[in-house]
């Protein structure tokens, strides 16, 4: 009887969810009141490769705080009303996405930082402006649609676009996971490396990165003398790899792993007497990392798609981000910065759409941006090409030197190194450099 009563009570309350709430909302403006604009985000607790996704919420909150201090947007405060956890599962991701739209009734969804963005189809179908960390094919479309764009690129056709115009990843909505990666090859060439090695986990995202790295090495003439693509996250013994690196006189190591796994290899190599090897990692650019390991990281390079925080001349966006993080007592990280960039893009979209903004008009506004830089933090992003393959491949690089990150390979005041993309250049001899201080921005983003 008790269970029956519980079920009846539960169903009756749930059933009354159809009763509308009090808030007066215009068409296309859920989550907008006279005083607030509500957004909500979702993340996985931790990525399978140990990346702290939840940091993204810090970045969004920090950006909103800076805007709200100046009066918000059109007199309305920006509010992150929900930080949902999808527990790392696709069905959890879908439920969380639906909860944000149907229960929390948010205007936009940000940040989305998850292993598996299964909810992307739903959010796209509801035309909800969505922002997050682009590491899943869902930002582009279904796996079939994403593969179609990749296949088109492989066939030399660069005009195929992703069919989800309401989804905005912090580095674009399309990433070609199987295309040759430029960054590892570029660093190897700059360091004069002759014999490279590659390490990845068997996990599929790591394996996709490996495919791109391998293709890049091949395209740009780096001799890949050793690979281990059968490592298990956290669990594998690397003695054999260390021995092989020594035996094959490897002088450059690229990894598609978490920083910890890569560091384990480098330490093993040092302990076995291997020296003078350059390590390149796509993950690990954190204050806490350099602080903890100091000179043990000498010889390490990190690559990422934004202005390094150690640049002598920081753009306004980076300064504001670092200041906000310092005020909150939070160490900067790629994930929190991604959240900040998401929030910046959203606010820029609101401002461009005008006072009577709707979800559709904000999406259209962002899709009209031809050079969005988040106030100088990023290489210009062109959203007007319909979420397709980008025409430039840009990255900034830092080297760990005696406990500090030192920007490399750029020019003074121009730390970002770029190459044309789609199609890619035959060599990496002729990059161009993006000026941080004169990087074009589409609009001012502070205040209303």
């Amino acid at each position: 009887m008790k269970r029956l009563l519980v079920l009846v009570v539960a169903l009756s309350t749930i059933g009354l969810g159809t009763v509308s709430t009090a808030q007066a909302q215009g068409a296309g403006r859920p989550g907008v009141t006279a005083t607030e604009i509500k957004v909500g985000g979702l993340s996985s607790p931790m990525s399978v490769l140990n990346v702290p996704y939840a940091d993204g919420f810090d970045g969004v909150n920090a950006y909103f705080d800076t805007i709200n201090k100046k009066g918000g947007v059109y007199g309305k405060k920006l509010k992150l009303v929900a930080q949902l956890d999808d527990l790392g599962s696709p069905s959890g991701n879908i439920r969380a996405a639906r909860s944000l739209v149907e229960e929390k009734k948010v205007f936009a969804v940000m940040p989305v930082m998850t292993n598996s963005f299964a909810g992307s189809a739903y959010l796209a179908s509801k035309n909800v402006p969505t922002f997050g960390l682009n590491i899943d094919a869902g930002w582009c479309g279904t796996s079939t649609e994403h593969r179609a764009v990749e296949d088109a690129i492989a066939a030399g056709k660069y005009d195929k676009v992703c069919p989800r115009p309401t989804l905005f990843g912090e580095k674009g909505s399309f990433i070609c996971f199987s295309c040759g990666q430029i960054s590892p090859a570029y660093v190897a060439l700059k360091k004069g490396a002759k014999r490279a090695a590659l390490f990845t986990y068997t996990h599929s995202s790591s394996a996709a990165c490996a495919e791109g790295t391998r293709a890049g090495f091949k395209q740009y003439g780096i001799d890949l003398v050793y690979e281990d693509t059968s490592l298990e996250f956290g669990f594998s013994d690397v003695s054999a790899d260390v021995q092989a690196l020594k035996d094959k006189n490897v002088d450059f190591v690229s990894t598609c792993m978490d920083f910890g796994g890569a560091f384990k290899i480098s330490q093993g190599l040092k302990q076995a007497g291997g020296t003078g090897v350059t390590f390149y990692a796509p993950e690990g650019y954190r204050e806490s990392t350099i602080k903890k390991y100091g000179s043990q990281l000498n010889g390490w390079f990190f690559g990422f798609a934004f202005i390094p925080w150690q640049s002598k001349v920081l753009p306004a966006g980076a300064k504001a981000y670092l200041k906000a993080m310092k005020q909150k007592g939070i160490a900067p990280s790629e994930q929190s910065q991604a959240g900040w960039i998401n929030a910046n893009m959203f606010v820029d979209g609101l401002l461009k759409a005008g006072k009577d903004f709707t979800q559709a008009s904000v999406v259209d506004a962002i899709n009209s941006f031809t050079a969005f830089t988040a106030n100088g933090m990023l290489p210009p992003q062109n959203w007007s090409n319909g979420h397709g393959p980008d025409t430039q491949a840009c990255a900034a690089y830092v080297e760990a030197v005696n406990g500090k990150f030192v920007p490399r390979f750029g020019k003074p005041g121009q730390p970002i190194v770029c190459f044309p993309d789609n199609p890619r250049p035959p060599t990496l001899d002729d990059p161009y450099y993006l000026p941080a201080k004169t990087g074009t921005t589409t609009t001012t983003s502070a205040g209303s």
């Binding site: 009887m1 008790k2 269970r3 519980v6 009570v9 539960a10 009756s12 309350t13 749930i14 059933g15 009354l16 969810g17 159809t18 009763v19 509308s20 709430t21 140990n50 929900a82 930080q83 956890d85 599962s89 696709p90 069905s91 959890g92 879908i94 639906r98 149907e102 929390k104 009734k105 292993n115 598996s116 299964a118 189809a121 094919a137 279904t142 796996s143 996971f177 068997t202 599929s204 281990d228 693509t229 059968s230 490592l231 298990e232 996250f233 956290g234 669990f235 594998s236 013994d237 003695s239 054999a240 790899d241 021995q243 910890g260 384990k264 302990q271 076995a272 007497g273 903890k292 390991y293």
Partner: protein, 914 residues
Amino acid sequence: MNQFISWLIEGAPVGCIYALVAVGLVLTYKTSGVFNLAFSAQAFASGAVFYETVINSHWPLWLGFVFAVLIFSPLLGLLLDRALFRYMRTAPWQVKLVTALGLLLALPEIVKLFFGAQPAEAPPSIAPLIGIDKFKVFDVGGYFISADRLTTVVFTVVAVILLGLMFRFTSIGLQMRAVVESPRMVELAGVDADRVSMTSWILSSTLAGLAGVLLAPLYFILDGNTYTLLIIAAIAAAAVGRFVSIPFTLLGGLLLGVGERALPDIVGTTGSFAQDVRPSFPFIVLFALLVFWPKLREQRVVSDPLSGVDPPPPAMAHEYKDANLQRMSKIAFPIFIAGFVLVMMTIVSPLWVTRLTDAFALAVVFLSITIFTGLGGQISLAQASFAAFGGFAMANAAEQFNVPALLALVIGAIVAAIVGALFVLFIDGLPALIGRFILRRPVVRLAGLYLSLATLAFAFMAEKVIFRREAISQGEYGIAVSRPDFAQGDRMWFLVVFIAFALVAFLVIFIRKGTIGQYLAALRGSENAAASIGINATSLRIILFSLSAGIAGLGGALIGMAQGRVEPVATYPALFGVVWVVLVVTLGSRTVDGAVNAAIGFVVFQWLFEALGLPPAIAIIGFGFGAITYARHPEGIVEFQTRKSILATARQRTLKKRAEELVRVEKLPTTYRPVWQVVAPVLAGPALYLLYVLVRSPIQGRWVAIHTVTLLVFLVPSLLFALVWMFATSHRLHQAGGVARDWIYLFAGGVVGALVGALFYNQGWVPRAELLHCVLAGIPAGVASVAFFLLPVQINRIADNRGWLSSPISWREGRAPFGFLLFGAFLFFRTSVTDASSSTGSFINHGFPPSGWPVFVLVAIFVITWVQWVAGVQGASNELAIGGEGFESPDESVSNIDEESSASIPAQIDSGGV
């Protein structure tokens, strides 16, 4: 030769780690019969404590080591033994396994709650403890071994030697070995088996602690998932020692470590084969040993010769229903189902339709566990893998071969069923062939704990080898799938899933009641006896595995279709198979009810905790510790509660008949009061308020805001009535011989409640409230908290004084309402620590839904629980009044239910007792 030496030197440290963990496993298995799969979780806890003390709290290294390994770890082992495993020494293997699995899930989440979820990098090295610089590298004949690795070897060898000596040459070691044989016989010989078991748990936990601090610097990272996988390797090492021999277990660990080191040189480091074999090497070894080494499964099963005196399990709950109740159920149940479907198809919000649809899809998978465990008596930890087979088969059929969606679901089920059949043919057939043609003798079938371990190994192998293949999963992002065209909407999709669930549920019931169910029951009892009456165990096992796998496959296909895509790993993680088994077994593996409750609980609890702003890990901790109830209630919580409810209803009906007899002879005591007369006023207030909200909200087009005055107008009369009733009942019981000076306890409860209310106010945990409000709320809460336990205790005492063999109520009845009060207080506390945007804070600040529903549902369940307690106490009090000597209340025997009570009017009524 050089290469072999390098394998040995470089593989030995890791092998020692495996050996250390494996030895701990063998130790507890040898001495307490528990295969402690949570050993790795204990190691993780110890590693986390070590990290926290040395790195974050800057303790000296030696102090952190002593605390983590020699204080914290043994205490943890002592706690586990005293609180849990000592009650399970003679319990069946299923109970021990499920409890260990529950700990395997819960312990890492508890650690993360305390120390944070993010894995910790660069754990401290303990090499300096033995005077070695942690950065030093030793050159051993041209081969390098780091300080951490050398330290690991040294500590492991010393630990194992000491253990071996202890077993061989000390009396405690001998006693430990004897306890394994038969705890009861050992006790008959005058040895305190309890103490011996406790000692072994302390020892093994210390080993776990040592393993935890040694492993961390070798892995470079302290992460719960890594330690979870470690246990599989340890089991493989322990299997080499046949789970009994410590020296061979050590050898097994070393062989495993050396083998792992040798693998890259043998199979390479790239290519499919390397990517298959290297990550899954420990699982392959374990699976191969379990399947192909008959001697392993033929070792004398650890069983107590006196265990046969244990009583048989209770009958199914529905068998306790009398004819009336069965008739009512047959009418009410279809009406309830029809009403449920109607409500889901019309008024329930689309998102909740989706959530409950996901739950019913999961329930289909859970019904596979009902078949395998509830009927078959075995435990399979690979149900997530069978679900994955079904999901990928469905997805490939639909997307690659354009099979219609519904047919694709069926294909998914069939393919999974075939895989299940092949699996059992493999694990039974191949060893049978080995026995017949090589060993020339029959081979014991893989069953019990070993079968469970084999399924666990299979699950991880499938995840790392099979589902990663491009041909099956089509790459990293999986396969996009679509629902049937007519079921694109949430409600129609719910109907599809619900119909599928209903069909499977009927199938399960049909099987349970039919011939196959009877055969399976016979097989569970004794395979030899079953064979003697013509039951073919081989074909029955094939049917069992196929059915179970097929049903899991159907569920997996439904889950995949609901998500719109089927991905490797993310959709069906192997570890989910463990979570699912723990859930279903805890709630009830013998009934459809148990599976449904488990599925709905799995989905709803995650939503509830998140909606309340609590970490979702709390749900996993709850599920894990819920498994511990399996020891007391092997039939499952749902079955237990159902049976209890039916028996209580029958008891009250008997009592009512007695009361009617007494009324006829004008001898009904004034202290007797029909339960409804007490429950109605208590329930009236909350029920009327709910009605007010439900009626007014649609009228005004929005949810009614919570106004304190309105709330009090409805609730205060019921609260006052309840308080008066508590005092009056307590006083009456006291006069009948209950607890002396009862009013002092109740008064003290009120005072403490008032003080707690004041504390809450001071801390700001009750927004927008005054001090007086908090104190006034605290007083009845405090009084009730005491009364929840005091009244049943009083009834117990009176029953004892009268010489009754059993009391009509137990103090345990007070735990549920008291627990809810505590949880409510905790939620108020959370309003101060959670962001204002979270649901808990929102409810308090902004009132009703959408954010307030979770708390609203909790309050509703609390009210129901509280009312049930009131009914229980009043009923027990009535039984004291008119029950007594000669009163035959229904007991656990099913045959008593329909008998009329034939007792004469007891003497106590004449003397004016309670």
